[in-house]
């Protein structure tokens, strides 16, 4: 499996056969603390890559940097060959690299359907001059709504489509955010702790949704800090600790890596979660 993804040996910063994202020397410091210090990393195209590591390893910060929500002290990266370092977050999203947030940002003051509609790209009606004249954007709006309905049905949120997002449960909000991100038709979707706070009963369906994304040709990068949950769906695992990448490889190998086990002192790495997840997410 590894040789289908990596160019050589599976080690931190290894090159990939078909990388969609390549980052170099990304450093982010807060005062005296170095949150992120990644010398080199490549994310494989069309695969599900998990970015794991203990709390404070810098995973979310790294996400923020790559997607333009934070500025690094130094570093550069390209996405599909295009230089993305220093590009504003909204432009990054437009270019196909879309992210979700660790603390869900479901817009509670809007309905579920309105949340979804927001995700659609290149809407004529979003132009202030065109907004006045419904005839300009009416047709596109129905396409938007149809796309939204499909996704909502897929994520089993269609019954709630006219409710305010505030009325959804935590897990449903996670699903909404994922569905909304999919409305943008991303090339690469980056999920920041998609399982966090989710009812264990929903966890499996979330995992299935993520697998479906790969089937559709999307590249998935997701952050988690519980290794067992990712074991079953990820093709590749990148392990961060204290801002650096300490290991890379297919899930089974990474789990056996002593450096990784060290990073997770005290983690329950010997019990399996798999399909009957009784042990909670955190």
């Amino acid at each position: 499996m590894a040789d289908q993804i990596a160019k050589g040996k599976a080690e931190p910063g290894c090159a990939k056969l078909d990388p969609i994202l390549i980052a170099d020397n990304v450093v982010r410091q807060f005062g005296g603390l170095t949150a992120v210090d990644v010398a080199h990393v490549e994310i494989p195209r069309g695969q599900i890559t998990a970015l794991i590591g203990p709390n404070g390893a810098g995973k979310t910060t790294f996400f923020n940097l790559l997607t333009g929500f934070d500025k690094p002290n130094s570093g550069s990266w390209t996405f599909n060959g295009k230089k993305l370092s220093g590009v504003a977050s909204y432009k990054v999203a437009r270019l196909g690299m879309v992210r979700t947030f660790q603390l869900t940002k479901a817009l509670s003051l809007l309905t579920v359907m309105e949340n979804m509609r927001l995700g659609y790209q290149n809407q004529k009606g979003e132009n202030p001059l065109a907004a006045m004249f419904k005839s300009i954007w009416r047709k596109q709006e129905s396409v938007v709504t149809e796309t939204a309905n499909e996704l909502l049905t897929r994520f089993k949120l269609d019954a709630k489509k006219d409710d305010f997002a505030a009325s959804l449960s935590g897990g449903q909000r996670k699903l909404l955010e994922m569905a909304r991100a999919l409305m943008t038709k991303p090339t690469m979707i980056m999920l920041d702790e998609p399982m966090a706070g989710v009812n264990p009963a929903l966890t499996q369906s979330l995992l299935d949704h993520i697998k479906d994304l790969k089937k559709e040709g999307m590249t998935v990068l997701f952050v988690e800090h519980d290794m067992h949950m990712v074991r079953h769906i990820s093709d590749w695992v990148i392990v961060m600790a204290e801002g650096k990448i300490v290991a890379e490889g297919p899930p089974k190998e990474v789990m056996k890596n002593p450096a990784v086990i060290d990073a997770y002192l005290g983690a329950h790495h010997d019990s399996d979660l798999g399909s009957n997840s009784k042990k909670g997410s955190k």
Binding site: V98, E126, A131, E141, T184
Partner: protein, 323 residues
């Protein structure tokens, strides 16, 4: 008593009530729908009043004067927004209050008397407006709402503008553009993550709400003179109270809010005044009634925000207070 009631109810349709409603609709766009902290709506009104008056007095016609006011308003929005809209929301708050202050200072300084009328202001700029009056001379209306042909004309124009503004804003908010705006109000990062240029949308909202405020300024001064003293923070505070009273994220709210606000104020003034005159109220004098009015507004604002923050027409679910 009859007179007090008449005075109060007369406030329902006065041009000033309309002007405040217009300004509040502009502020609704800024704060209610977009979450922009504009603490200087008085500045936009001042720009409208002065640009209109100065242009008219310089010999320009009605329509060019209005267009110049709008242009000035857009320039103001750009000056305020370009440095601040990319930063935290409080920067806009700072800059809007500063703008209102600086502008008021500029137009009241005696050095610019020839241009802006200094502390005494400007008058005589509304002739062309009144020349367009189609209503023949005479008395119109009845009881609390009696007026002459000039008063009728001003009211018709003012309230038509209010209705048009309300319809316009309502349409914009219901559009995809409005959707982005409402998203920005709640969480800018979420909207950015969906590929929208948040800065640009905020600027658009600022401009639109600002133009409405400028229009309000013109309506405000049509029946009276342009005086710098009228554009202080008292004005901004009243507009905010009206907005919160009616419901900041609605278009009906600012309109009804303005009506209720002015009727209540007039009623209170009238009752207090009569009470003092007739000796029923002994612990205050006539010239203290203005102060009592403010006490009541202050108290009213507190109760409003504590017990009904969404105002009269606001939707509690869509509560814009997310601080």
């Amino acid at each position: 008593m009859d007179q007090i009631l008449a005075n109060a109810l007369g406030e329902l349709i006065t041009p000033m009530t309309a002007a405040y409603a217009l300004a509040a609709i502009g502020l609704a766009m800024h704060f209610g729908f977009t979450g922009l902290l504009n603490f200087g709506q008085a500045a936009y009104m001042l720009v409208g009043a002065y640009a209109f008056a100065m242009a008219t007095l310089a010999g320009l016609g009605l329509v060019p004067a209005i267009l110049i006011s709008f242009a000035a308003s857009i320039v103001l929005s750009l000056i305020l927004g370009i440095p601040t809209l990319r930063l935290r929301s409080d920067y806009l708050a700072i800059v809007t209050i500063a703008a209102a202050e600086i502008l008021r200072f500029i137009v009241s300084t005696t050095g610019l008397n020839d241009v802006t009328g200094g502390p005494q202001g400007l008058s005589g700029f509304a002739r062309e407006f009144y020349a367009l009056n189609p209503f023949p001379a005479g008395e119109y209306g009845f009881w609390a709402w009696s007026m002459d042909e000039k008063g009728l004309w001003v009211r018709v124009v003012a309230w038509s503008l209010v209705i048009l503004a309300a319809l316009f804003v309502a349409k914009m908010i219901r559009s995809p553009w409005g959707r982005v705006i409402k998203g920005i109000r709640e969480d800018e990062d979420a909207v950015r993550s969906l590929g929208k240029n948040v800065y640009s949308y905020k600027m658009q909202s600022l401009i639109i709400g600002g133009v409405l405020g400028t229009l309000a300024g013109i309506v405000f001064v049509l029946p009276r003179a342009v005086q710098p003293g009228n554009f202080g923070t008292g004005l901004t505070f009243f507009i905010w109270t009206i907005l919160l009273l009616g419901g900041a994220a609605t278009v009906l709210g600012p309109i009804i809010g303005s009506m209720i606000f002015w009727v209540l104020l007039s009623l209170t003034d009238g009752l207090l005044s009569a009470g003092v005159d007739s000796g029923i109220i002994t612990f205050i004098q006539q010239d203290q009634i203005g102060g009592i009015r403010f006490m009541l507004v202050g108290l009213g604002l507190m109760l409003l925000v504590i017990f009904r923050p969404q105002g009269i027409f606001g939707n509690k679910k869509e509560l814009y207070f997310n601080g």
